[in-house]
């Protein structure tokens, strides 16, 4: 098992390096000079030049061949990319160009907000999607099956920003049951412990706060959950159907096991393999979808923040935010691989 983990870590490394490289390229390729963006249109040549010097923007992108020709090996490697990698390794994400706030500081607040939303959505998607898929498979071709499969296809087809707007219209504007946006009502205090407010409010033992946090998070979470829910339900159904026609399911029944045990003990564990994979991939959908839900529900997460960063040419934000998102995604899928090995002895013992 530990062999397997080490192999997986090694195989993730090139992906990680590629990811950081792509992030670097995007920062530099997006048109517009960050120094100009920082100082404004009317800054003097001179001050722009100084700023470029200060941020290393005057260095070549990857390698400096003039330095090499001058016999300066250190200079050869002293490029924007190398500096960027160095900063990455020292976990220095710089500070926002426009607001002059350290990126890490903002991340520490905004990242948990996105993660909290994503985790709750995934939780909703799983606890609804998997049972729906199992029931559909068990009652294949019945009315329940057709309804839940068309239903989950509607979920997959949902423009989540629109669903979010419809939720707001119904529950916030018309019924006035829930707040239309934000993460916390005015006057509610949360002591930031994990920065996951649902957890924090419980840790504080403040049920009032918990209710408020829940009222704020539930609409965006449902909007975000629809697509993964549909996908998980469909994947569970089809992989259950695949497994149910396997010989070992027949063996289990021939032993005298009841339908429930066959379904939940013998079939589900096998059927969960592709489902686990799809759940990992859906984590990416959730993180990406966060840009949309965070916009609609004024959710103070990183999705919207990175988006604004891209439009405002705020490179450190883009870099820090994208990196964290990509890392989470790679990490989740790494975790999925481990889960996979735990579930499937054929992989574990290879």
């Amino acid at each position: 098992m530990s062999n397997y983990i080490i192999r997986r870590i090694i195989s993730v490394l090139p992906t990680l390096i590629g990811v950081t490289f792509v992030i670097f390229m995007f920062q530099r390729l997006i048109p517009g000079d960050p120094a100009v963006a920082m100082l404004g249109e009317h800054a003097t040549e001179e001050s722009i030049e100084r700023l470029r010097e200060q941020f290393g923007l005057n260095r070549p992108l990857f390698l400096d061949r003039e330095a090499l020709a001058d016999g300066d090996l250190a200079g050869f490697f002293d490029s924007q990319y190398v500096r960027y990698m160095k900063r990455l390794f020292s976990l220095d994400m710089g500070e926002s160009i426009h607001r002059r706030i350290p990126v890490a500081e903002t991340l520490a607040i905004r990242f948990p907000a996105t993660i909290e939303l994503a985790l709750l959505s995934m939780f909703i998607a799983i606890i609804i999607g998997i049972p729906v898929g199992i029931i559909s498979a068990a009652k294949r071709n019945s009315a329940i099956d057709s309804i839940s499969m068309v239903g989950s296809l509607v979920g997959v087809s949902m423009p989540i920003f629109w669903l979010g707007l419809m939720e707001i219209m119904l529950f916030a504007v018309l019924m006035q049951w829930l707040p239309a946006g934000g993460r916390l009502g005015t006057g509610i205090e949360i002591k930031p412990i994990t920065n996951l407010y649902l957890v924090d409010s419980l840790l504080m033992g403040n049920f009032q706060a918990f209710k408020d946090v829940f009222a704020h998070i539930i609409m965006p979470a449902i909007a975000l959950a629809t697509i993964p829910m549909g996908i998980i339900a469909r994947m569970t159904r089809s992989s259950m159907l695949d497994v149910l026609q396997e010989d070992y399911v027949r063996t289990a029944r021939a032993k005298g096991l009841g339908r429930g045990l066959v379904l939940f003990r013998h079939a589900l564990k096998n059927a969960s393999l592709p489902v686990v994979t799809i759940i990992g991939l859906q984590m990416g959908t959730l993180l990406a979808g966060a840009v949309l839900t965070e916009t609609i529900f004024s959710w103070p997460g990183i999705g919207r923040w990175v988006y604004d960063g891209i439009l405002g040419r705020d490179y450190p934000i883009v870099q820090g935010g994208t990196l964290v998102i990509a890392l989470v995604f790679v990490g989740v899928n790494f975790f999925v691989d481990i889960m996979y090995a735990l579930l499937d002895p054929r992989i574990r013992y290879d």
Binding site: Y248, R250, A254, K255, G256, K269, P345
Partner: protein, 332 residues
């Protein structure tokens, strides 16, 4: 005295998009305790479906048992509800399957799968069950049984997996073991070992065995009686000696080839009969075998021959011309 298993007019159908597949047609026979019954026939003639019908493991939909009775010790299994039927499966009747590679669940250890069967039907603690599972593995000839309990199926070879399947089947000491081509997927030497193992276990434990196979050498050696199936029906059945020496059905003769001998060694496959079996979606009016039969006449094409006793219950055949055929059988 009631037989161990008595099947009456069993009919099983698959209702598919292309039409109704008549997989088992009016099968009737009986089996006594401790007896070994062989069932032979070409691929697709309904051997497995008929066995699965006894266990009520037909995939439903599309399959349905549409008619008949399956009397096990006098009790009609088809009348039982799923709950009671579950108690029969594994405890009274156990079944092992053709492909040991796919018949064990890959995500559970072999030990777990045997223990599960044991604890389902017996009042045992985990520890007792595990101990018994170890004994069973030893019984079926898996060396180092204790440690191998914690192995996963993919760590077993094909022959070992089939042994484990047999251990699982025998775990609750069933009165009837249905073995559906248990050796087909294995290579020849392993096949012989499995056959010997089952014979030995049968002598020790005394259960009845229904041995479904293509291997004429093996059934000749181990079975007392044989059912020959064709297109979902039994077309000839009786004592081994009768089937081999006094063959009365042209299809059986075709299967046995020109020179079937009782001392055929294991591995003797069915000889091939020219042509293809009929489409079970559209069975012909008359004898299902007529299209391929060298002896057919208009009567055969028009009317389906009934099973007739030609030597009491020891030899029964469904052919209009069995008497004429008797005259040309070279084996007598």
């Amino acid at each position: 005295m009631t037989s161990l298993l008595e099947i009456k007019n069993l009919k099983t159908r698959f209702f598919t998009a292309d039409g109704v597949v008549k997989a088992v047609n009016d099968v009737s026979y009986s089996m006594e305790s401790g007896e070994i019954l062989g069932i032979v026939g070409e691929s697709g003639c309904g051997k497995s479906v008929h066995a699965l019908s006894i266990m009520q493991l037909i995939p439903d939909p599309p399959g349905k048992i549409t008619n008949g009775e399956v009397l096990f010790e006098g009790r009609n299994l088809l009348d039982l509800d799923e709950r009671d039927m579950r108690k029969v499966r594994g405890r009274d009747i156990a079944m092992i399957f053709q492909d040991p590679m796919t018949s064990l669940n890959p995500v559970f250890t072999v030990g777990y799968q045997i223990v599960e069967a044991l604890r389902l039907h017996n009042d045992m603690t985990k520890k007792e069950a595990r101990k018994r599972a170890g004994e069973l593995l030893t019984l079926v000839g898996i060396p180092g049984a204790e440690t191998r309990l914690d192995d996963y199926p993919h760590q077993f070879s094909g022959g070992m997996r089939q042994r484990a399947m047999i251990a699982m089947g025998l775990s609750c000491e069933p009165k009837l073991l249905i073995a559906d081509e248990p050796t087909t997927a294995l290579d020849v030497t392993i096949q012989a070992q499995i056959v010997d193992l089952v014979k030995k276990l049968q002598q020790e434990l005394g259960m009845a065995i229904m041995w479904i196979t293509h291997d004429l050498g093996v059934v000749a050696e181990m079975a007392e009686r044989i059912n020959v199936m064709y297109a979902g029906s039994i077309i000839e059945r009786g004592k081994v000696r009768n089937i081999y020496k006094k063959t009365r059905h042209p299809y059986t003769m075709g299967l046995l080839g020109s020179l079937p001998r009782l001392d055929d060694s294991p591995g003797t496959k069915l000889a091939s009969v020219p042509g293809l079996p009929p489409d079970l979606l559209a069975l012909p009016e008359g004898c299902a075998f007529a299209a391929r039969c060298a002896y057919r006449n208009d009567h055969c094409l028009a009317e389906k021959p009934p099973l007739v006793e030609i030597d009491g219950p020891d030899h029964i055949v469904a052919c209009w011309r069995w008497e004429e055929i008797a005259g040309i059988n070279k084996n007598e």
